[in-house]
């Protein structure tokens, strides 16, 4: 397992060096490696597939333009998360200026694993879309990227204690929102 990680790290390091020298295939390798992460952060934040794809492409374009500043694969991951988060906030503000997002149109149906309730996941995504921007990003970084509070604090440039309290508040808000939604559904049916 460790050997595989080390091999992967070496491969990315090599791709980074080659990209710096203008190798298009190496850059494509970097994009392929990180596109899931960048796209998913954008998608979970914006809840809009085409906007998320557009944003992810812009992030990779920015990476191409400032690749000489990237020092290592770990730095690349950190840089991509940070830039994506910042762009998400900007894009979210633009989007909210254009129109308020209706909850009903926000999420796409999620593909659930066998042991999870697809309706619950759907409602969770809907509730996530209603959280304020920083809270939403903290939740995404924690549960999508699996980052700890210190790492989230670094990426989002927030104090660690603020991250912890934000995370706590976000989970409480999500629970509250979810309960409200379930109640609405019950009223609609019965």
């Amino acid at each position: 397992m460790e050997q595989t990680a080390a091999f992967e790290d070496d491969r990315l390091k090599q791709a980074l060096t080659l990209s710096l020298n203008g190798d298009a295939e190496a850059f494509a390798d970097l994009v392929r490696e990180h596109q899931g992460m960048v796209f998913s952060i954008a998608y979970h934040y914006l809840q809009d597939r085409s906007l998320a794809e557009d944003l992810a492409q812009e992030v990779f374009l920015e990476l191409f333009q400032s690749i000489e500043r990237i020092q290592s694969p770990a730095h690349l991951t950190y840089w991509l998360r940070k830039v994506t988060a910042n762009r998400c906030i900007d894009q979210g503000r633009k989007k909210s200026r254009r129109r308020e997002m209706a909850l009903e149109e926000a999420p796409e149906p999620v593909t659930a694993s066998a042991h999870t309730d697809p309706m619950l996941l759907d409602k969770l995504q809907q509730s996530l879309a209603t959280l304020p921007e920083k809270q939403r990003l903290v939740v995404i970084m924690r549960f999508q990227e699996g980052l700890g509070p210190a790492e989230i604090a670094e990426v989002l440039e927030m104090p660690v204690n603020t991250v912890k309290s934000t995370l706590h508040r976000s989970l409480a808000d999500l629970r509250k929102g979810l309960t409200r939604k379930i109640r609405e559904v019950r009223y609609a049916f019965f």
Binding site: A28, G36, H44, E53, Q57, F60, L120, L124, F143
Partner: protein, 148 residues
């Protein structure tokens, strides 16, 4: 309703951007690279000739202190000129008034002289009439005295 952190992880599972995302991204990157190369190779367009705002305006923008001084001088000159002109107008009015008064005085003197002359003529006439009247009365007096 309760949900676990695993549910949240499941809801926020990484998603695949779909077929062709890498290709579309690389096309966009290449396009940006081409655009950048074109903009670098393109000769820098000459600055469009700025429409002149006139000598005074350009001077005003480049030498604001001097411009302010000139404006101040002009204001001072206008002030002094205006004061001088009002003084001149006042003196002229006074001169005209004095001339009118003088003319009236001359006319009055002429009228007085004429009146004096008229009185003199009247007195001479009266004396003449009186003399004639005395001469006619004198023989009658002599006869009356003789009769007495």
């Amino acid at each position: 309703m309760h949900f676990s952190e695993d549910d949240l992880r499941e809801a926020l599972k990484r998603k695949d951007p779909g077929e062709g995302f890498t290709q579309r991204t690389l096309i966009r990157v290449n396009q940006a690279r081409v655009n950048q190369a074109q903009s670098e190779s393109k000769p820098v367009p000459a600055m469009p000739e700025k429409k002149s705002n006139g000598f005074f305006m350009s001077w005003l923008t480049h030498r604001p202190a001097w411009a302010m001084a000139v404006v101040g001088m002009l204001l001072l000159a206008f002030g002094i000129g205006g004061y001088q002109y009002s003084e001149y107008r006042h003196a002229e009015e006074m001169r005209i008034a004095r001339a009118n008064q003088q003319q009236l005085q001359q006319e009055a003197e002429r009228a007085r002289d004429q009146a004096i002359m008229a009185l003199e003529i009247a007195r001479a006439k009266m004396n003449h009439v009186l003399q004639h009247a005395q001469l006619q009365a004198e023989p009658n007096n002599k006869i009356r005295r003789e009769r007495l």
